[in-house]
Amino acid sequence: MRLPPWLLSDRAGLVLLAVLALIGVGVPILNLWVPPDHPLHLTAYTVTLLGKYLCYALLAVAVDLVWGYMGILSLGHAAFFGLGGYCFGMYLMRQIGTRGVYGDPMLPDFMVFLNWQELPWYWHGFDLFWFAALMVLVVPGLLAFVFGWFAFRSRVSGVYLSIITQALTYALMLAFFRNEMGFGGNNGLTDFKDVLGYPIHADGTRVVLFVLSALALAGGYLACRWLVSTRMGRVLVAIRDSEDRARFLGYRVERVKALVFTFSAMLAGVAGALYVPQVGIINPGEFAPLNSIEAVIWVAVGGRGTLVGAVVGAVLVNYAKSWLTGALPEVWLFALGGLFVAVTLLLPHGLIGLLRRRREATA
């Protein structure tokens, strides 16, 4: 089998794919077939944690695609992540059936609690897996397309765009906090029982979800890598470096931007949809502006415009977060804040940039 040239020249990407393949095979073995008392055994907690990192990494790839290659600093990607999560969460809610606290066959617990009589219209169809899976792509994609189409057409760019994307996710957060929205308000959607008939807390299901996350990340990475190697990818970079020049050269800048922005939002939606069954809850806190900005810093740490860097940054920063919030909770925000400052001042090209420079220096 011959690899296409765009992938063959991408050495870092091949390493990433190899690592993903390795953990995609290794983690299930270490979790399921290595006995629990063996030192190499991975607990279900670790598997879920790793799966979470992979979802974050996919979100970071989505952010990197628009920021690193197109120059749009989106401070609202968590909104698409959250919407994807909510869509899949709705499917999981409907799977609970009569096993909720109130045992209502149609209504989720929080609706019974709010004394609602029937399912709101937008909840219909979410008992079907294929419909929910479709919505995971459609809802974030549609929002991003509409939003992007208007924003890019009226040439909102730079910090203005950043601020209105932040306002977008902020508005969504406020909206989802409202009980009247019909998404569980403050508590969000939780208490999931099973997915496609498999119990959601079983080790086997967790491992499958983990493998799916790894596959999604690999697929998302490949899609983005392919996209940026095409002619359109070159237009993207041209837009990033000089939007006006690209426009004068005759490219329909706003169309390209809206298209790629939509694609990136769909990736974020998939990441959210895989994230929800693994952590077992989705609530409006996912829309908090801080989450979006954190995703941006993962990309910055790894190195923007590299895609691989986004994955590296997401995993490293989140690993540090898990470790620090456990060991020294006071320090975490100092560390994160310091990271923002240090990366922008000292590491404008991120860790990958640092590695590249070093290799060029030795070569």
Partner: protein
Amino acid sequence: MPSRTLIRAGFLTLALALLALFGASLARAAADDEEVRATLAQLRDADFDGKTELIEKLVTLNHSRVAAILQALSDSRLYFQEDPERIVIGSGDGAEIAIEDAVSGEALGQAGKRGLDRITANNRLRSLIENRLAGLGLASADPQQRKAAVEAFLRNPDPVGAAPLRARLEVETDTGIKELLALALALADLASDDATVRAKAATALGGQMQTEIRGPLTRMAAEDSDPAAREAARIALTRTEFRLQMLGWAETLFFGLSLGSVLILAAIGLAVTFGVMGVINMAHGELMMLGAYTTWLVQQWLPVNWSLPVAVPLAFLVAALVGIAIERGIIRFLYGRPLETLLATFGVSLILQQAVRSIFSPLNRSVASPDWMSGTILLGPLEVTLNRLVIVGFCIAVFAVLWLALQRTRLGLEVRAVAQNRAMARAMGVRSARVDALTFGLGSGIAGVAGVALSQLTNVGPNLGQSYIVDSFMVVVFGGVGNLWGTLVAGLSLGVANKLLEPWSGAVLAKILVLVFLILFIQKRPRGLFPQRGRAAEV
């Protein structure tokens, strides 16, 4: 009920005050004491109807003590003493109470309650007495007391007691009291037997918002036997409703202005750093938080009433110094890279938040309001809370000072020069690095000052800044970057729009709608309401 006793006590003092006036100023000779005594003597054995007649008689006697006697009767403090036989007014509690002679007012020392027989009153008598006392107060030379008397009548109208009011209306010179008298008479006329009088009275009462007037009008509109009178009452009520509605709008407008001035305060510092310098400072909210915490610290050392005048300059200084440190330490390396500036300052905001959390605890701190800022004040018919009013005024003051600083000082000139054309300004000898630091300090300092104002409205906690950052950016962008007046207009209109939507949609949805509107607005006019023109705007 405490309010009721208060009113009574008020009337007692009023009545006592009247005494002195009556004694000095009445032209007519006072009725002699014996006649009063004789009337009082009958009180003891009279039934309530008899008492009513006796009260009416007492009122006509025009004796200086009548007010005090009636008040005592209403308060159940009028006693019949058996040995010696006389009517006394008691005061105090317990088995022994202080007594005084009802007619002469002479103090008679203590007396056991056993030898005293209380002269009882019922509520009908009490309201009669209140009404008649009001009639007595009408003759007072003090306009305040006359006004109180008419207001007492308004609370407790009675067609019979209207006669002295009508007499007073002829001679009254104070226009305010005249209007009040007319109202009181109209209210009394509502109970008239003549339907045309009732209708006329109802028309005169239209637009009056007191519940004492709306109640009888509503009843009349529903129940009056005469259709014309019903219609008149209905029309009068519609006028009242209209005025109430206007008042409601005015109230909403005021709330909107007050929210708008908070938004302006939060955004105006950004208008300097983002608008004039083009620097995105995501730590702006945290600089406000520092200002609020400074207020709290000042209050630990100084009495609350003095704390704010000290806190304002101190908060400015603290926030300005932190701002200058941020500019010198981070932002100056990132000029021309706005997205990186955004990220770096966001990091600063996280650090500041956590610092406050570590130093002052993650819990909210309560900042007290000084006495001169608490309570309410009447602006015409509108009752407004004083602290909101002060903040509106404070916002105007801050805006004015900032505007003057930018337009009339050397630094302001340099700031504007650097904002318009950095290279040219440098060529003219402006030290642009120094100007950058000072401008950023100015914007940050204003954020600190805004924090002082916010500490009077919301909880002071580590998350204080976060909740305002999106809003303040929205205000600046909506108004048009680099335009202080735009910020003013934008802040006010967003505040008012929010409050107008609130009753219709609820607070959270109102906020969401405003945000969505802004997002759409920026798509339509990316440069805001008042865009900067010229080449500088294209950078």
